[in-house]
Amino acid sequence: MEGGHRWRRLGQRPRAVLLPGRQRLLGRPRAEPIASGGDWRSLGDFDQVAGGGQRWPGLAKPPYDRGMRFARDSFIVGVPEHQLATFDAAWQWLSEPSGAWTADEKLAMVDVARNASPRLLHDRRPATIDHLSSEVEIGRKLSPLVVDTVERVAVEAGAICREWASAVIDVLGDTAYAELVAVIATVTPIDRACELLGRPVEPLPDPLAGLPTGERADPTVDIGAYVPAAQGFAGPNVAKSLSVAPTANLVRLGVVRALYSGTRFGELRWDDGALNRPQVELVAARTSALNECFY
């Protein structure tokens, strides 16, 4: 079975490099430079498996080296470690297949969202999908329907209506739609935080191979939203809204808790931070109003 050794060039995105023969450098946390001008970090051996993908003996899943990702000193001001860890966990989730999407597809969604911009009023999208194909064209990763959906969620969410959402969900399925929304709702706050705190958005991780897992909450209950929610999910509608896709929803909520209330939501007084609760809620309410969000 072909295999190799995975290396990471420090300061760059990880990539697999098949070196002559099998390099066995297990136990060495740092390798000697193998390319001029660069330092490399050993991540361990892998085996190439039939059908694609890699198998990492002894590991539950391929190592995800946070390394330079969301490095504390990449921000121009101190950011709490638990928030950086949450960002990293979200990036890990992006790099893996989920219930309805491959990692490649999720990362392609992020790319679409990052490059989307609101249209002028006269050029707004119609609330129909009849003109959009759900087939993925050769050389692309997402269908025109998915691209359009991502763009709407990313920059025109306030204009989404039930008629449109129902049409999309009829084609994609509720789990796929919920996960798509979760991708945007997870990455958007992280990107905004980076931009507001003086650094570029984080480069996307390499996708891990694998097919969608088929994960979906069961049973589910109608909460009056466009997609059902997991039955028995405690919390307000905004917390359970995407729970039909359990893992995606938990990743999203992890970001929310880390950046907003933590475990303090039920308390009206927040005395342990730099801002008190009314100050935080003023910023929250103003942001919501600017986005014309009724909820």
Binding site: L259, P278, A289, F294
Partner: protein, 129 residues
């Protein structure tokens, strides 16, 4: 809702009209620089000046918290609007006055809620735990 409730806890007299950017005093400490910062963060204009004023008023830690709040609510509003969730039971009646005063029914997401519901229990206390 939470702005009013948390302000009342501190015995502050808040004017929720400030969230719409009107030229009223919010009643929240450093509310003027926080409101300007949130607006600048959304529009991308005047952000440097707004950030400098905010840091002067609440320090770097306060700036980080404000930035994180702007960031996380950019995710929450997309979640709410894209999923079409209605207002939670109890929130409809608890917020009727503020919603009417602020004209929030003009926002598209209002169509997802039955605003004719009267009465109801208090909002769920553990929203994100």
């Amino acid at each position: 809702m939470l702005l009013r409730a948390s302000s009342e806890e501190l015995r502050d007299d808040v004017d929720t009209a400030a969230v719409l950017g009107s030229a009223v005093e919010s009643g929240v400490s450093a509310g003027d620089v926080l409101e300007v910062y949130a607006s600048a963060a959304h529009r991308g204009e005047g952000l440097s000046a707004a950030t400098a004023a905010l840091r002067e008023a609440v320090g770097d830690a306060g700036w980080v918290e404000a930035a994180m709040t702007v960031a996380v609510f950019n995710g929450l509003v997309r979640t709410a609007d894209a999923s079409g969730i209605p207002l939670d039971e109890g929130v409809v009646s608890a917020t009727e006055g503020d919603r009417n005063a602020l004209g929030l029914a003009e926002f598209g997401g209002a169509a997802n809620s039955d605003l004719s519901i009267a009465g109801g229990r208090s909002p769920h206390p553990n929203l994100f735990n």
